[in-house]
Symmetry: C2
Subunit: 230 residues, 2 copies
Amino acid sequence: MKHIIGILGGMGPAATADMFQKFIQLIPASCDQNHIPLLISSIPDIPDRSACILNHQQDPEQHLLTYLHNLEKAGATCIVIACNTAHFWFDRLQAKSNVKMLSMIDSTVNCAVKMGVKKIGLLATNATVATKLYQNALEKQGIDVVLPTTEGQDQVMESIYLYKAGKIEQSVSLMEIEQQALLEQGAECIILGCTEVPLILSEAMKKQPHFYIDSTLELVKTAIDWYYQQ
Amino acid sequence: MKHIIGILGGMGPAATADMFQKFIQLIPASCDQNHIPLLISSIPDIPDRSACILNHQQDPEQHLLTYLHNLEKAGATCIVIACNTAHFWFDRLQAKSNVKMLSMIDSTVNCAVKMGVKKIGLLATNATVATKLYQNALEKQGIDVVLPTTEGQDQVMESIYLYKAGKIEQSVSLMEIEQQALLEQGAECIILGCTEVPLILSEAMKKQPHFYIDSTLELVKTAIDWYYQQ
């Protein structure tokens, strides 16, 4: 059977493109044909995940399910979601999907466990924080989570929306303040638990890569492992 | 009707990712939902296009057609191909496709016409040059085409394969020699007529953007125009 990994993306498109690039960079290919087959859905009209969870606005589940099934129709045999907040719907989507799905949250937490981290920072959307997607999984593993202050968390969210709106410099400067605050609170490293955050902190990550766990990169590694195990 | 642009890619994956990035960069979006919906097929087992045209090796048409139809099944209402050489099969694919296709060759030649260029260089694969995909279209418009020498063309092809194999520095140094040679032969500007070439010459393009017509960028502009006209 020929395997194809489907990326359910568009949340936002730049984060989806970043995941695509990471698949390309991690494969030691000597020609086109060595690369892993991917199908990418970057259809960005999926209602805002945070606005649904926090403010009871339009639920994105039906859009997510439609685009997931469209990836299946096009031949995807495994699905990954290029958005942490959307993992709030992961179990419901997996229950209705005909193919295997791989979780970004699990991939990222597994990395923290392997690194032996005891106290970890989290930079994520307000909704990812509020739903405790990461905190519950990390605490089960005996890892303490350091979060931004209430005001700090609002700045993280503002930074993410600024990045999505193309206001890169303002976005970077807000996020750098909040990541520094987490390190000062004793976090040994920081989970970049929103797929825009590795883009926002790309320069900081180049300087000190050991301070960060990039959720996009961890899911890509899991998906590549899955592919080669088939 | 909701429109979705399908990118038939994987030839190679890095060039497909470059096309995806160009769609994102050209849309002045203030939030995720403003971006253009895309479905991207990056399934790289499509047989080598140049090897088929020049050496009668395996024909990629059936792979191209299957992946094109899979994009249609997933909802694409317009298809673009992220590979110049594959445009050798464009008319046959359009005849069997249920949706509109937009040509990279036409988009690029239209740009040269609008710029009023009279003598233009071409950096493309051996097969794109041999099939005269660009030369015939440009000559119809009264534009003279400057090609690399026979040895130079082999270096262009070698540069493209080196890039696909991740040997970036060697690739760049070969291609920069050949583009310089075209300018010295009197080309007013150069068509980057293989989707790997804008990646290989990215630094040179930043310094002197007016010397280049990027076939990927021109097709993306055509596709965005098409989308907003619907």
